[in-house]
Amino acid sequence: MDKHIYMDYAATTPVDPEVVAAMLPFFSNEYGNPSSIHRWGQRADYAITTAREEIAGILCCEADEIIFTSCGSESNNLALRGIALEARELNKGNHLIISAIEHPAILRTAQQLQKHYAFDVTILPVDQHGFISPKDLTNVIQPDTFLVSIMYANNEIGVIQPIAELAAITHEHNILFHSDAVQAAGQLSLDTEKLGVDLMSVSAHKFYGPKGVGLLYAKRNTLSHSHQTGGSQENGLRAGTQNVPLIVGMATALKIVSGRQSHDNSKMKVLRDKLIESVLDNISESILTGHRTCRLPNNASFAFEGIDGNELLMHLDLLNIAASSGSACKTGSPEPSNVLTALNLSPKLSLGSLRLSLGRDTKDSDIEYIQQVLPKVVNNMRGTL
């Protein structure tokens, strides 16, 4: 029998059937527009209000601090551009700080603010494991810095940043702190109080919710400018009729995941560690990227010397294993990602990256199958070079 093994949960997850069931009524039965006056509108509004409250409970914040968006990328865009517009208008500063391993949704937004709106951007380097050092952050803060944005957990190498510590330093200088928690959500605590974040981005499809819906947590009185203008939905911070079924789905998924998170995590960690050990033991000239322990429970990311990462993904796909790499590009132009470049890997290593990400349905036998075939594939590829 052919085995099909999905090891790309960091890219996206299947939607939990319970989540599908929760969404279904809101497509063709409860289809009202939450902004409408009548009872159809009222019922739809009730649904998203409930969702907002449930989510606020998990994020330990107020319901009106949750802004629904269309995805994690949009949340990141709204945070950076919204805060920057306000800083510009109120003369609150002209300098923002991001890290060298941010997702393109942060990196490119910051670059646009720099290029087209004349903001100054500092990109903080990371160490060999991908950590941002609190000392480095202190050193680059300037009198006119108005925002620091550092991701909670990295999408490629899974490294988890000391967010609370970094946020505290930022606050000492009266600067706002944003964190991209898209990868962290579903595996790490989203308690905004403990984390000390002012803004935080989340996307539903990374924790068994639907694609195309996300949220931005924005502490009261931090965000007043929207980047998408129009109607006054979401407190005037995000124009557009809310996607009621998807919002309901996101809330349901978050509730489910926060209930089973610690159980899933411990199961995944065992499998992840087994996978990591076996890969490092059985494949020569291979390294683990990111930190050995301070990483997402579901992330196992490697670099193999002398291997074309894209080609490795093709071989694995032909063996029915879905994986990803830091040089991922479905149109065929391999370039190491900003993350792998920031780790200072040699070019030979950084083109040979592989990310295997586990999920709640990953089984022991899946890991065994990978243990069995991966060394062969890598050796074969090296042999034919």
């Binding site: 032909l318 065929g332 391999p334 034919t384």
Partner: protein, 356 residues
């Protein structure tokens, strides 16, 4: 038993999409490969090679998804630039009229792509070409496509036994009309798509503009003469003219004038009346015999001098291991150095060489 694994070279077009569908239907373990090729930046195509634009990639990926086969894009921009684009510029600069498709087939499709496919466990590659392969005794033969109007064997005449043995042309036994209707039977969203283009790497269809931009040093003005040696005017650089060309020579005469030849040694363009254009003989170099066997005696065959030309009856006389002389029964216009002369006996393609 598990069937062979076959890599289909997919372009997002109707032919290669149906090729993949047919093989999948026959139970093969099919996967798709698409080549990313070099193309000149700018102009109206936004730096995208017309044959592998993002639109074609997403179309091909869509087809792969419908067929439920793996699909990958492989980056061959460097190799394509080196082996095809540079070749194209060099040959034009040397006064020839090259055929980049043959070169691409030789070095990229049956070079790089074949190599990749085999390394990924494929036993064969398949393409959407209109041509057929049969085994005759112990030899593999290349045949014209069943649809004579669409036949592409000309551009495949550089293949040999080791390539044919590992190649499939699933659409070659059908008419184009049938392939389009199969595409809609398979519900592939490609039935109405345009065929892919020659000179896919140009931003427009104007190779003269391309030479201006990429090889201006090759464009040296010189005299235009008729065949009796009278100077009639000045040309703008030999690469800008092709044999048989009438329009755009830039001299007025009582009778229309045609380009007869390009004399690289003294940078002269020879033009004359239509009646002077024809020739009965040509010499072909770098000859490939598909069977792998050289002919020692002269043979009867039909010879095609361009992709779109009609094959004409001729004698082929071997000169040495890789050169032949072709003597046509009748005068042939437009014999163009640099193009391929391809030899046929009925629908069997025997091979071909480069016109000297």
């Amino acid at each position: 038993m598990k069937k062979d694994r076959i890599a289909v070279a997919m372009s997002g077009g109707v032919d290669s999409s149906v090729a993949a569908a047919l093989l999948k239907n026959q139970g093969y373990d099919v996967f798709g490969l698409m080549l990313r090729l070099w193309s000149e930046p700018g102009q109206d195509n936004n730096g995208q090679n017309r044959c592998c634009s993002p639109e074609s990639v997403s179309r091909a990926r869509q087809v792969a998804a419908i067929l439920d086969i793996p699909f990958f894009v492989i980056d061959t921009r460097k190799e394509f630039h080196q082996d095809v684009v540079k070749f194209f510029i060099d040959k034009y600069s040397a006064g020839l009229t090259p055929n980049p498709c043959l070169e691409c087939n030789r070095n990229i499709r049956w070079g790089h792509l074949m190599h990749k496919a085999l390394s990924m466990g494929a036993t064969h590659i398949a393409t959407g070409h209109y041509a057929r392969i049969i085994k005759n005794g112990r030899k593999w033969q290349l045949l014209r496509g069943y649809d004579n109007d669409k036949d592409q064997s000309y551009a495949l005449s550089m293949l040999g036994q080791s390539e044919l043995k590992r190649t499939l042309f699933p659409v070659g036994s059908y008419t184009k009309t049938k392939i389009r209707s199969l595409a809609s039977d398979f519900a592939l969203p490609v039935a109405q798509r345009q065929d892919s283009q020659d000179l896919c790497f140009l931003a427009d269809k104007d190779y003269r503009r391309f030479m201006h931009d990429y090889a201006p040093q090759s464009l040296n003005p010189g005299p235009i003469m008729n065949s009796s040696g009278e100077t009639l005017g000045e040309h703008k650089g030999l690469p800008l003219y092709t044999i048989g060309q009438r329009k755009g020579i830039g001299i007025s005469a009582s009778e229309p004038l045609y380009v007869l030849s390009k004399n690289q040694s003294d940078n002269t363009l020879i033009v004359d009346k239509l009646s002077k254009l024809g020739k009965k003989c040509l010499k072909a170099k770098k000859v490939n015999w598909i069977s792998g066997n050289l002919t020692e005696r002269k043979i009867r065959a039909e010879v095609q001098i361009r992709y779109t030309a009609k094959a004409e009856a001729a004698w082929i006389k071997p000169i040495n291991d890789n050169e032949v002389e072709v003597e046509f029964d009748h005068q042939i216009n437009d014999i163009t150095p640099g193009q391929a002369a391809v030899f046929y006996q009925d629908s069997v393609c025997l091979g071909g060489g480069v016109i000297d």
